[in-house]
Symmetry: C2
Subunit: 412 residues, 2 copies
């Protein structure tokens, strides 16, 4: 279980709860400071499976150093494995989201073995272990800790899991002192947890993914990527995964383009290091897009480039069929962009009340809503502003930090 090189020094010039005061209430800041005083000196260890790529890694990248500035020793460790291990855990991940997948015995044995080996490096040195998602779930079972509390933080929708997979997973989950799902509707029906919480994720307005960028800068990024500044850009940022439906996005784009020809589509997908299936999908959608020079597909862009694309886009697509929370929706609402998105997972929760009509169920609906936004710029702008207000109220990092600290206080 290697450590992640999170910045161990406190860095008050850049990171510190007071930098968020311009966006959130004084009450929330004080509540956080009060909890931090109460918890001062505790040691927390987060364990997940990837140091970069994907929402969990991003959130930990912000939360862990921020916790440190508040006097809580927060660390972050990775469970590692070979390609085989990550193939199994990806299947797990999918099966908990209800796919009809069968896991073979030897795959499960390999999964358990990897968790057992990682658990050997756990020496009861932290007060709280926070284990994220299924990959390192069984570490708690194998770890010999007497004094530590264990929290399992599940980021995916597990309300309708594949039954045999869930039966395999459930005993490991039930050994935890607390279990956190993103939303109430994400929990499996028959989970027997001693402490159950629901905590949605949040975005960090100070991260390179979200911080303000000059228009000169973000336009220049587009030019260098070969994207025209003269035709509106529609953008989907997400892994190249069937459940994000990038092929459906291309089909919807082609429908809108029949009506509004001067239009570009950008698909930008990070390839997370724990996702071996991204490559095949990427090939499929390059085939689907073949011949249309207004479609741009990018992999491996940095956070600053993603930030720039989001700021330069006219409207955002997030055509998910299945989602965890779909935090990218909050990222783009933060940048005041209108969004047409699949009615899945946590996405509706992030949509402002008056704009729920932009949640769609099909390629045709997606195309129709995009067309509306393109023809009615004032509505598009109002939608973006309402989205920004919603994120400001509910989905910024300080709220998430408060919820985490509250949970630590409750389990200890």
């Amino acid at each position: 279980m290697p450590r992640v090189q999170t910045p161990r020094y406190c860095c008050p010039d850049l990171i510190g709860i007071e930098h968020y005061e311009r966006w959130v209430s004084r009450d929330l800041i004080e509540e956080i400071q009060q909890l931090a005083r109460q918890l001062r000196g505790i040691r927390v260890c987060h364990i997940n499976s990837t140091a970069s790529g994907g929402g969990v890694a991003e959130m930990l990248g912000s939360l862990v150093p921020l916790c440190s500035t508040l006097g809580i020793q927060a660390d972050w460790r990775l469970i590692t494995g070979d390609e085989q291990f990550f193939r199994v855990t990806k299947t797990f991940h999918n099966a908990l989201q209800s796919a009809g997948l069968d896991l073979r015995e030897e795959a499960l044995a390999g999964y358990l073995e990897r968790n057992r080996v990682s658990a050997e490096q756990v020496h009861d040195e932290y007060d709280v272990y926070v284990v994220h998602d299924p990959q390192p779930l069984a570490i708690r079972h194998f770890a010999s800790t007497d004094h530590s509390k264990w929290i399992w933080r599940c980021h995916i929708d597990s309300s309708k899991p594949n039954p045999p997979t869930w039966e395999f997973v459930r005993p490991f989950v039930e050994e935890y002192d607390a279990v956190v799902f993103t939303m109430e509707s994400f929990q499996p029906a028959d989970l027997n947890a001693s402490c159950l919480r629901f905590v949605p994720p949040a975005i960090d307005p100070l991260s390179t993914k979200n911080l303000e960028l000059d228009e000169d800068l973000y336009c220049r990024v587009l030019v260098e990527l070969g994207i025209s500044l003269r035709k509106p850009v529609l953008l989907q940022v997400s892994r190249f995964d069937p459940w994000k439906d990038p092929l459906g996005v291309i089909r919807a784009f082609h429908l809108v383009k029949q009506e509004i020809p001067a239009l570009q589509l950008v698909l930008a997908g990070g390839m997370a290091t724990d996702d071996p299936q991204g490559g095949e999908m990427l090939e499929a959608l390059r085939t689907e897009a073949a011949g249309d020079r207004d479609i741009h597909v990018f992999t491996n862009l940095g956070n600053l480039e993603i930030n720039a694309l989001q700021r330069a886009a006219y409207a955002i697509i997030q055509k998910s069929i299945k989602e965890g929370f779909g935090l990218v929706v909050s990222e783009v609402f933060w940048k005041r962009k209108p969004v047409v998105a699949g009615n899945a997972g946590g996405i509706p929760l992030q949509f402002p009340d008056d704009y729920q009509g932009f949640l769609v169920e099909s390629v045709e609906e997606c195309a129709q809503r995009l067309s509306t936004l393109l023809k009615q710029p004032a509505q598009a702008q109002g939608f973006g502003a309402a989205g920004n207000a919603k994120v400001t109220a509910d989905f910024l990092l300080p709220r998430l930090l408060r919820d985490e600290l509250q949970l630590f206080a409750d389990v200890l």
Copy 2:
């Protein structure tokens, strides 16, 4: 030969010679505008082997759209090939820089075949073809053009080539209407060219690699990369190639660290798509760096991230043993950073007169000069300012554009 998606629209808000007026003389701008009027309507096609990664691709990314805003139709095409082709051309590249390498007959046959196939797509539709470096060199030989002029632009030091390789290459070179080397000292002794020019490269202060960044932004980039803001950063940005001596950089760093323990080293190397040897080197230097958590190695960072690292660094290392021009030195002088560099290729030309003592020949010298810069911040700052003045005078994009347009005017 696929096209590169360079922005075909003119983009006067961002790109246009007038945006450079704040840095260069009014006379130079007028000279460029005068040449552009004279050449208006000509069609120019650049051919190279990679659309991203490496100095040539970067320069074309700036020059090609800028030319278009001046009424010259500039295009950019790529020669493509399989891994075998690029292995051969990389060997070529090395052999022209004097390595004792033997190229086997069938490798040469494959090289010529790839050039012949690419030449089939050349239909005399441009007034000037500019062919960069050895990869697409032989296209001119196979292309049936009656009216076009052909320029070979060699970016590497070919003054002491491997004799059999040069004998193979020379007839292809001598078919060109003009040949351009970066510096006089880079030409082979026995080249018989009808028109020979020497044009050093230049940096684009408006590109994402060089444009001004807020301190908040570039510091945040460091934090997210896991780099401390509390210890000075020494930085080398270059491909992981033996001639950039990254292993020597690590050894020099360890020497300096004995004296000044609170220090970090960042090695950031883009992996160009036409360089199959980068992977092995990367592994070697990860071994050399093993165990030192103050050494950070990054691949595949975006231009904005590189820009941020350069701005955040205390001093720059460019410990090249062989170089073409080493334009990265101008990039960091532009950012007012002091540089300790190998006395190779075009590097000395970029150094301000009073600071030639920071050109080094060994690991020990490199360590000693870095130590001086770390102990004498005022000298380090003066050095950076002198570097900036030198770049402003000699190595900004408008000067390069003027030289290119002048050459077009002369050959047509």
